[in-house]
């Protein structure tokens, strides 16, 4: 255990890098998910087809291959990415492709009546999407999005293989300099577990916050009001 305490600052830095990578690639993932998911639903074939190819290619090959490709193969085209950039791009695009399917599925399963009502009210397609369809689809997207984000968090460990100094990278460093393998790896296992547990808690809080079921929401509010009254 002494190595863990001695090298705690290093592990802390690694943890911060892991969180940074997760936040950056998570943001990219969301952007990619909505862009590709909506494009996939487009009626124009020259928009939906490229989105489909993007989704299938990034879902069909392994994340590690994509990351290595961006890091080692792209320089042959004269583009040398910083390891962190390559890592965030690969993670964001890969998980974004999975999340795009979530967006597509959630929007495609919306009741047709909503779209028809929007058309009857003379809403423009963009407004329809922005004000009606997407807000209604979000509750259905949240649980699978939560899974994608936990996956993304766990996959940030792969960035250590393209020399980004994240938690796993630091652990490997400390392992090779101290040889205290068990303590170090158990520590980072627990840290990763805590991070993904926090993420699950966040998702379930968001799910409750954005529940479509208004009746349940109203009942919940009444209950909390009653509790406040009771407390007073």
């Amino acid at each position: 255990m002494s190595a863990v305490i001695e090298y705690a600052p290093l592990l802390w830095q690694g943890l911060l890098t892991t969180i940074l990578v997760a936040v950056l690639s998570g943001a990219l993932c969301l952007v990619v998910a909505f862009a590709a998911g909506l494009a996939r639903l487009s009626r124009h074939r020259f928009i939906s087809w490229p989105a489909g190819v993007f989704i299938e290619v990034f879902r069909g090959t392994s994340l590690l291959v994509q990351m290595f490709w961006l890091f080692f193969a792209l320089p042959f085209f004269g583009i040398q990415l910083h390891p962190l950039t390559a890592a965030v791009l690969a993670l964001g695009l890969n998980e974004g492709a999975y999340a795009a399917e979530v967006v597509r599925g959630a929007i495609a399963s919306r009741a047709k009546g909503q779209t028809e009502a929007c058309i009857a009210l003379g809403m423009e397609p963009a407004l329809r999407l922005r004000r009606i369809i997407i807000p209604q689809s979000i509750p259905a997207m949240l649980p699978p999005f939560g899974n994608v984000m936990v996956d993304l968090l766990k996959n940030t460990s792969l960035v250590s293989l393209v020399t980004v100094a994240d938690l796993t990278f630091r652990a490997q460093m400390i392992r090779s300099s101290t040889g205290q393998t068990t303590a170090i790896f158990l520590t980072i296992l627990v840290l990763y577990f805590l991070l993904s547990y926090l993420l699950t808690l966040l998702t379930s809080w968001l799910e409750r916050r954005y529940a479509l079921d208004r009746k349940a929401l109203v009942a919940q509010r009444k209950e909390s009001k009653l509790m406040k009254v009771g407390a007073a």
Partner: protein, 218 residues
Amino acid sequence: MIWDNNFAVSVIPLLLEGLWVTVKITLLGTMLAAALGLFFAILRRLAIPVLSPVVSFFVVFVRGTPLLVQAYCAFFVLPAYGISFDAFTTGVVVIGVNYSAYMAEVYRSGIQGVPKGQWEAATALSLPGTRTWGRIILPQAIRTVVPMLGNYLIQMFKDSAVLSAITVVELMATAQAIGSSSFRYLEPLTLAALLFLAISYPASRLVNRLERRYAPQH
């Protein structure tokens, strides 16, 4: 010339060898995961004091930690306690145990989906527990989870690339080795990506069809 065609063709046999190792890992890993996952799911369902909660925690813990770190643990930590296998075996066991946690959840949903009347009928006929499970519950539960197990098989096929980090010489490690020895990464990495795609895309199409065929028929 950025893309060297002759070089690309010359590395294909090596990459195919790597692909074969990847396929072997996936098949063995899936068998291990399917068996172990079923075992975990049944243990959880039986609600044995101490044991069932421990299994539940194990499943949640494995699902909450990265495969790469688990692989490092098995590769670097276990030998310190005198347990050591070659990289290939370690890789299969790690990925099998990792996916068993996911499959346990799949089986659980399958078992939960079996109508309550089936359990009651088995009790009414006073069937022993082993026959209730083996002849009544599991055949119905597994039928609905086959396509989901297929999805995990494809996922495992892609995830097995992670095992290159613990020196398992599969497709990814082969591509990397070719790249570092020839200083040309473009061709081996692109071909490796295409090989992954060439197998996983048709496979996921197949699973989609299975999904429709094995849909629950109540």
